[in-house]
């Protein structure tokens, strides 16, 4: 909730939005705003699993990658390109089973976005809604009371190595300028 409110206590410190769900601790590699673009990233994670076993010889590496997307994304070319990439790159040493595509028929909670008024839904679920509302209200209260990110936040985490902002006219790296940590320097 803090993340959605753009507060510092949110997962991405005001830098990520509603589609940016990441957690290194829980191995969540992200929500991707252009949904299809996460599929190749998932294949990359799978590639790393195979690489760790075969190249780095970590025999106990048994990571499995899960990727989720909706039926709309099935139109996306990256999905079909990746079936072949996955088969060739990852499935080479396997017995020919290849990747698995799991099609799940599930419950559609609401319309696609605020622009979708969801008029085709059956409206008889008030009791469950009320319970959910209470949970959400608690979260809203926490988010409301959280502080906003500081002025310096937008400049953090653009680069893993902030030398990437370059050398300024005075010969020092821009990230060494005191105004950089305050967030008032121009990049």
């Amino acid at each position: 909730m803090s993340k959605l409110f753009g507060k510092i206590t949110g997962c991405y410190r005001g830098q990520g939005g509603s589609m940016h769900m990441f957690s290194r601790e829980h191995n969540v590699l992200g929500g991707f705003t252009f949904i299809g673009e996460g599929i190749p990233v998932a294949i990359g994670a799978t590639f790393t699993s195979k690489y760790k076993r075969e190249v780095l010889k970590e025999a106990d590496c048994d990571h499995v990658t899960l990727v989720f997307f909706g039926d709309g994304t099935c139109n996306n070319g990256q999905l079909f390109e990746l079936r072949e990439v996955a088969k060739e790159a990852i499935g080479r040493a396997r017995s020919g089973e290849g990747p698995t595509l799991a099609k799940c028929d599930t419950y559609r909670f609401r319309g696609h976005s605020l622009a979708d008024s969801d008029e085709l839904r059956d409206p008889d679920l008030k009791a469950i809604d009320k319970k959910i509302d209470e949970v959400v209200e608690d979260a809203v209260e926490f988010a409301d009371e959280s502080p906003v990110p500081p002025r310096s936040q937008p400049l953090e985490n653009v680069f893993a190595d902030p030398k990437g902002f370059g050398i300024g006219p005075d010969g020092r790296y821009k990230c060494e300028d005191p105004k950089f940590t305050k967030g008032t320097t121009q990049v």
Binding site: G16, E37, G44, K52, G171
Partner: protein
């Protein structure tokens, strides 16, 4: 004579060097880093068994295996995304675009994922990826295969861009890019792969954020990169004969600009000429002109001149192709104009 002979022998013992071509220097840098760090791997079209369209990865698949030098299908957006996913989960991949122009198909991954994920994940995931490939105007390769993508990618936040121009800096920048925690795009030029140079035997890297002083001078600062460096140096010979003393800087770091080296030069010469191969509109030169004007306006005695390629798709016909790209004669004329 005897003393000179002794010094020469001593020097080559103290600083041993070997001669190679630019594409071999890139390969040497890549190979050394692959030996040094088992997480470094390569992905691209025909990089494995074929050894790369310009032979930068020749022999590496035999040495390191098919998984470390991976032949991908013709699916740039997907294998670039795959490289990003691999980088996020601990590997250090190199993505090769068979021709830089093909990476336009991977723009989605480069802009949205490569450039942004470190930021939107609040610093949790790093993307130590190197994206490289041959670009620039070649010999009659046609419009789509003669592209200069540095101008398109320069606005993407979160990435660094460098352009190599000699075997020495090609190897140095390749190694530095592979060791960097940031995503780096390394621009190579199709016509520079066969340049020959003697480079040091010992391990070295080139700083990703620094420009390279090619020829110190007093009268005018000429800023350039990649292949245009050679057109500039050719023009410099003519200029020296005419009595001019140009200072030539290969900016090397296209994003960010090394404003220190550039600034010191502007403060000395007060005249700036930018010579580049990308298009005039929205090119690297356009950004550089703005950056110099903003930071060093008081030191300029004349408006900055920027020589770029024409804003046209590169024609196939050889003569027409020449006319769209900056030639040494134009550089000489521009310097004469600046120094009036």
């Amino acid at each position: 004579m005897k003393v000179v002979g002794v010094i020469y022998v001593t020097r080559s013992i103290l600083y041993p060097r070997h001669e190679l071509l630019l594409f071999e220097a890139l390969r040497e840098g890549l190979e050394e880093e692959m030996e040094r760090d088992p997480r470094v791997c390569v992905m691209g079209e025909d990089v494995g068994h074929y050894g790369g369209s310009y032979k930068v990865t020749k022999g590496l698949a035999t040495k390191f295996g098919d998984l470390r030098v991976l032949d991908t299908p013709i699916a740039e957006n997907s294998f670039t995304g795959m490289g990003i996913g691999a980088a996020m989960t601990g590997l250090r991949p190199v993505i090769e675009g068979m021709n830089m122009g093909f990476l336009l198909l991977a723009f989605n991954q480069i802009s949205n994922n490569c450039g942004m994920l470190h930021y939107t994940s609040g610093g949790q995931f790093t993307i130590p990826i190197v994206i490289r490939g041959p670009g620039g105007v070649g010999r009659q390769l046609g419009a789509e295969h003669s592209q200069r993508l540095e101008s398109y990618f320069q606005s993407v936040p979160g990435i660094q861009m460098v352009a190599c121009s000699t075997p020495y800096n090609a190897k140095g920048l390749m190694k530095a890019a592979l060791r960097s925690e940031n995503p780096v795009i390394l621009f190579e030029h199709v016509l520079l792969y066969n340049l020959k140079e003697r480079i040091p035997d010992e391990d070295y890297i080139c700083n990703l954020e620094e420009a390279e002083m090619v020829r110190p001078g007093e009268h005018v600062t000429i800023l350039t990169y990649s292949r245009m460096r050679y057109h500039v140096m050719q023009a410099a010979k003519t200029l020296v004969n005419k009595g001019y003393d140009p200072e030539v800087i290969d900016i090397r770091s296209l994003k960010p600009f090394d404003l220190y080296t550039i600034g010191n030069s502007v403060k000395k010469t007060h005249r700036v000429l930018i010579v580049e191969e990308c298009m005039r509109t929205g090119g690297i030169g356009a950004s550089l002109t703005a950056a110099i004007t903003e930071n060093f306006h008081d030191y300029l005695d004349a408006p900055i001149i920027c020589l770029s390629s024409q804003d046209v798709p590169t024609p196939y016909a050889g003569r027409l192709e020449e006319w769209t790209v900056v030639q040494p004669a134009q550089i000489v004329t521009a310097v004469e104009q600046l120094c009036q």
